[in-house]
């Protein structure tokens, strides 16, 4: 499909007040809409508490709860967090007696070790992977974290 064709279609939609336009051909799909936005695309990155209904289903079911909205907000701010790269147990310090790797207010570079995640008896150092200042620590010491779980807010 040529861009001229698409342009013509968009003009037609505008002129004729179409709300939706879809075309699907071999190896190609096009979907245009006017007004109304699609929430489903965002939902896949939401951190999911165990056993609760998924955002997608929830959206479809029109039974969104307040708590979900907070999570959605977290997702939208996701670029400002350091997330768990693996599933395991979060440790804020190298050993029970030692100082925490980072505290709120600390400046970190991408190479700064911010915590340890233990997986299968192996202590995996987690690096910040970005530079900034630690604004908040979102998990407690010795807490279990799943993949993608936000650990720190960084600015």
């Amino acid at each position: 499909m040529e861009i001229e064709q698409i342009k013509a279609i968009v003009e037609l939609m505008s002129k004729h007040n179409l709300s939706e336009f879809k075309v699907e051909a071999e190896n190609m799909r096009l979907s245009l809409k006017r007004g109304g936005y699609d929430i489903a695309g965002m939902s896949s990155q939401i951190i999911q508490p165990a056993g609760t209904a998924s955002p997608h289903l929830m959206a479809a079911a029109i039974q969104q709860e307040a708590s979900k909205i907070v999570q959605t907000a977290q997702v939208l701010e996701k670029k400002n967090t350091i997330d768990a790269p693996i599933v395991g147990t979060f440790y804020s310090s190298p050993s029970p007696d030692a100082q925490e790797f980072v505290k709120v207010g600390d400046k970190v570079t991408p190479n700064t070790v911010v915590c340890i995640i233990e997986a299968m008896k192996v202590m995996n150092e987690v690096k910040a992977e970005k530079a900034g200042v630690i604004k908040e620590i979102l998990v407690k010491n010795a807490q279990s974290v799943e993949y993608g779980c936000p650990l720190f807010v960084i600015e």
């Binding site: 056993g51 998924s54 693996i86 997986a119 299968m120």
Partner: protein, 456 residues
């Protein structure tokens, strides 16, 4: 019995395991990838842990992440489902080391049956018929030629680590043999990182007949009859049924006894399947053993009334088999149709994407195992199977009739599926007569495409 188990799988089989656990009073934890966050098993399990991103290598195939999830959730056992880590002896071994029960056979049993070439050797030793062929791996071209001369053409070259038709070539003469030999090796290397191949006599147009086994850890083992899985496309099963339309009860007893002999040779202790090639003369040959639950297990459940997933979990928990061979009764006829998100009109191209409307059939004798619902997005990352339709009728005729109306009712829009092909097959007279073999789909495929054009 276990208190809590982790499910290291996804889709319909994960849901199937959750259902069994709820009946057993066992808590479940779903280990899931980012791509599966919004799926029914994740919602319906007691707990759910995200273990990694969408690619299987970083989630469902990464035993470290799975075991880490198992540890933080404090589970007693792991159910691997089918595919992924289900036949991985290394994983079974590590589970043992971590003091977590692997719901399946032991690492030794998997190893003994996992390498097809050595499994065949073992079977030969204990008197299980195998197809004539190389005694183990074929290391070079000359050996290949020598063996082909002995057993006679056609021959089939197979990857020892293979499965699903990959690393497999058929040769009808000396001219093609060398080319096939190298093609199989390089495909095997690419697919399994193991180029080792072996050679066998090629049985033309055989049936694929497999026997379901059920064993405990106390030396008890029974078979639950056969499944005829001959309707395959490129070694991917599409329709399975039990009993096989060509099986007499005498032949069932004979083959069942052989299947039990095969499994006893490795002291098998879980659910598993012995696959046979069944020649047109009633001759049969051990093909391989699947040391896991299989996709098509529900048809055996339908005719025997035995819940195989519950039986598998109870066996792993050390319980003794409650049923003897003589107690196994077969009732009626069951057929499974696999519904894949693939376009049968376009070379079975997978069709991931959003399912707009999903209306499964219901009513008497209909079972649908699926994780799909209206609005579900099929990720492009995994297997294309989206639903299994299992029918159970008083006899084969009734079961075929149920397949017809249930497939007519099954409404899936938004993605292309195998339903049109399934409908075409179950409406054919040769299927009604039960006269098919593993070459069936290939033979009826052009007529299928033509019939579609006529309809249009």
């Amino acid at each position: 019995m276990f208190g809590k188990i982790l499910i290291a799988n996804r889709g319909e089989i994960a849901l199937r395991i959750i259902r069994a656990c709820k009946e057993l009073g066992v808590k479940t934890v779903m280990a899931y990838s980012v791509a599966d966050a919004e799926t029914l098993p994740v919602m319906l399990a007691d707990e759910a842990v995200c273990i990694g991103p969408a690619p299987s290598a970083e989630s469902y195939l990464d035993y470290k992440r799975i075991l880490s999830a198992a540890e933080i959730c404090d589970v007693d056992a792991i159910h691997p489902g089918y595919g992924f880590l289900s036949e991985n002896a290394h994983f079974a071994e590590i589970c043992k080391t971590c003091n977590i029960e692997f719901i399946g056979p032991s690492a030794d049993q998997i190893t003994a049956m996992g390498d097809k070439s050595s499994a065949k050797k073992k079977m030969k030793q204990v008197g299980v018929p195998v197809t004539p062929g190389s005694d183990g791996l074929v290391m070079d071209e000359n050996e290949a030629k020598r063996i082909a001369k002995v057993i006679g053409y056609p021959v089939i070259i197979k990857a020892t680590a293979g499965g699903g038709g990959r690393g497999m070539r058929i040769s009808h003469n000396n001219a093609s043999l060398i080319k096939c030999y190298h093609a199989a090796r390089s495909e095997a290397e690419k697919s399994f990182k193991n180029s080792a191949v072996y050679i066998e006599k090629y049985i033309e147009n055989p049936r694929h007949i497999e026997f379901q086994l059920l064993a405990d850890k106390h030396g008890n083992i029974i078979h639950l009859g056969e499944r005829d899985c001959s309707i395959q496309r490129r070694h991917q099963k599409l329709i399975e049924e039990t009993p096989s339309p060509i099986m007499s009860s005498k032949q069932r007893a004979t083959m069942g006894a052989v299947a039990l002999k095969a499994a006893k040779a490795v002291k098998y202790s879980s659910v598993g399947t012995i696959e046979f090639l069944y020649g047109s003369g009633g001759d049969f040959y051990f093909m391989e053993m699947n040391t896991r639950i299989q996709v098509e297990h529900p048809i055996t459940e339908a005719v025997t009334g035995i819940d195989l997933i519950k039986a598998q979990i109870m066996s792993a928990a050390g319980e003794k088999l409650q049923i003897r061979q003589k107690d196994v009764k077969f009732s009626g006829h069951s057929i499974e149709c696999r519904i894949n998100a693939e376009n049968p009109y376009a070379n079975f191209t997978p069709c991931p994407g959003k399912v707009d409307l999903f209306i499964p059939p219901g009513g008497p004798g209909i079972r649908v195992d699926t994780h799909v619902y209206s609005g579900y997005k099929i990720p492009p990352t995994y297997d294309s199977m989206i639903a299994k339709l299992i029918v159970h009728g008083k006899n084969r005729q009734e079961a075929v009739a149920k397949c017809k109306w249930a497939l007519d009712e099954f409404h899936i829009s938004g993605v292309k599926t195998t339903i049109p092909l399934l409908k075409y097959i179950v409406a054919r007279e040769d299927f009604a007569a039960g006269t098919y073999d593993t070459g069936y789909i290939e033979r009826i495929f052009d007529p299928f495409l033509s019939s579609a054009k006529e309809d249009a």
